[in-house]
Subunit: 318 residues, 2 copies
């Protein structure tokens, strides 16, 4: 068993006692991988993540196979995951759905939880979804309403909350307006994404505080930070201080935004867990087991993990 060397935890009374990690490595992390990962490897990856104690593992996306060939095996993957749901009580395996057609496929495969991926800016909405941000919201509304009617909770991702590569800074009022729309149409959780990683802690606090001032309970908010400029963990700390208790992260730091200038992307789950456990914040995650899983996945992909913790614990080529 891997020896961690994590010092004794020291609590900060202003931070939450427990954080739920929304693990995105199997979906967001893999979706931009050019070489196709076999479905057996994906099943084992998700099983190992569950085994390491993660209880929310985003599994795949019912996007059109032409858009994201890496996730074209969603139909094949879903029945393989049913056994995991039985084995790990409390395990949640949400899937992304881009539109009603995607929802139909997800429901046909008994998805118990789905997510939609909206944008706070028009330019990114047009590039990613081929319509304005408002038009994208109109497209998501029947998805959210039908899923909700079917008893399937919906997470709303809101991307480009702090900056957009084409538009630059994004006004808080615009982000809050789109976020409120997602919640009003029935999303049970709103994940605020810094898709290009430009945010710093003051912006994070300002945005979360503006949402709570608008009447959104803080436990409906999640944060999704990218480490493009190394800011993800400092931003997470600011979000926790503002009361957020759901944090998105990607095992081994897999994935990233194809529009960001650097390959560095998602906050690595291991770096997040190191901080949380050091702060005495419960996650339910076994960091040694998670790190070994990311080392194993890095070998499957044939390149080192960008997670600092994974490299520190397994060696720089892990």
């Amino acid at each position: 068993m891997l020896e961690l060397g994590l010092p004794d935890p020291v609590r900060d009374p202003d931070l939450p006692a427990r954080v739920r990690i929304h693990e995105v490595g199997a979906r967001d992390g893999l979706q931009n991988e050019s070489s196709l990962v076999p479905v057996e490897v994906k099943v084992e990856f998700i099983a190992r993540l569950a085994d390491a104690g993660l209880r929310t593992v985003e599994a795949t996306s019912f996007v059109h196979p032409n858009w994201v060939p890496q996730l074209a095996d969603a139909e094949e993957l879903m029945p393989r995951l049913a056994e995991l749901l039985a084995r790990y009580p409390g395990l949640r395996l949400p899937v992304l759905v881009p539109n009603e057609r995607g929802l139909d496929r997800a429901l046909a495969h008994h998805a118990s939880e789905v997510a939609v991926f909206a944008s706070a800016t028009d330019t990114f909405a047009r590039r990613n979804l081929n319509r304005s941000a408002d038009e994208a919201m109109a497209m998501f509304r029947p998805v959210v309403e039908r899923a909700t009617a079917a008893g399937v909770p919906v997470r709303g991702y809101l991307s480009m909350c702090f900056g957009d590569p084409w538009e630059g800074p994004v006004p808080i009022a615009q982000v809050v307006r789109h976020g409120l729309t997602l919640l009003e149409m029935g999303c049970t959780e709103l994940s605020l994404g810094d898709t290009i990683g430009v945010a710093t802690p003051g912006q994070v606090k300002a945005l979360i505080d503006e949402f709570t001032r608008s009447g959104v309970p803080v436990d409906q908010l999640a944060v999704h930070f990218h480490d493009t400029y190394g800011q993800a963990l400092a931003n997470t700390l600011a979000a926790l201080r503002s009361g957020v208790t759901v944090v998105d992260a990607s095992a081994g730091g897999l994935g990233g935004c194809p529009y960001a200038k650097s390959a560095t992307g998602n906050l690595a789950t291991e770096d997040l867990v190191w901080m949380l456990h050091g702060l005495g914040i419960e996650t339910g995650v076994d960091l040694a087991s998670l790190t070994e899983t990311s080392g194993w996945m890095a070998r499957q992909l044939g390149r080192p993990s960008p997670s600092r913790t994974v490299r520190a614990l397994l060696g720089p080529t892990a």
Copy 2:
């Protein structure tokens, strides 16, 4: 000129308005480089750092040349730096001195500021200095006293403040005792080092608060974090919240602790400046110019910068 894409700053009233960066790239960053960097390159590096607005640039070490061959050119470097001191008002170019012999050499070359490198743990003191932590303090006392008598201020580095690779967690009382000794013998600034990068924000707050409770003015404290587990910037944020206004960092993330398991080491100055400027905290640093300097230095060393910001702005091979 490099376009940064940093969003408009958002201040946090609990954080300081200004931070002084103690730039260690030219000394701590280069000291473990195996291929010798020509003195002309070092002069240009330090000049470019000053030109980017850094005003405390640790320049070299008067350690015995056999110990650190990379810095064996200290005598050659010093006269070349005199012109910089004249060109940039307020520029400080401290140098490390390991013992009295080193101090003699530094004073002979008109060093206006020096630093000693102590350890909070016995094991690291024995490995690094061949004596116990207390014996090392006894060795530093005449160095600090003689420098002070000569009108040369002394910075005290205290390493392994949060964990030691051989001893594990380090008791706060032990760290504070050694830190107070350095201040009591005359050091004007105490840099608290997380040499192996294991700390998390709760530990940082606890240690700084214990120093201030012991009567140390917070403006005598600096922090020196390593990014081994990705924690450096979150820890910096915690230190700023506890009132610290002096932060050590290394341009481009150069250097690291040879005893840490990973090559990842010092907090990159660019990642730090990104956060500080995003928080509206003044540093005097021109981030574009600094980033270009680190890109230039990476080319001199023949390998990419580990700084996330440098890679995001210049491309992953910068």
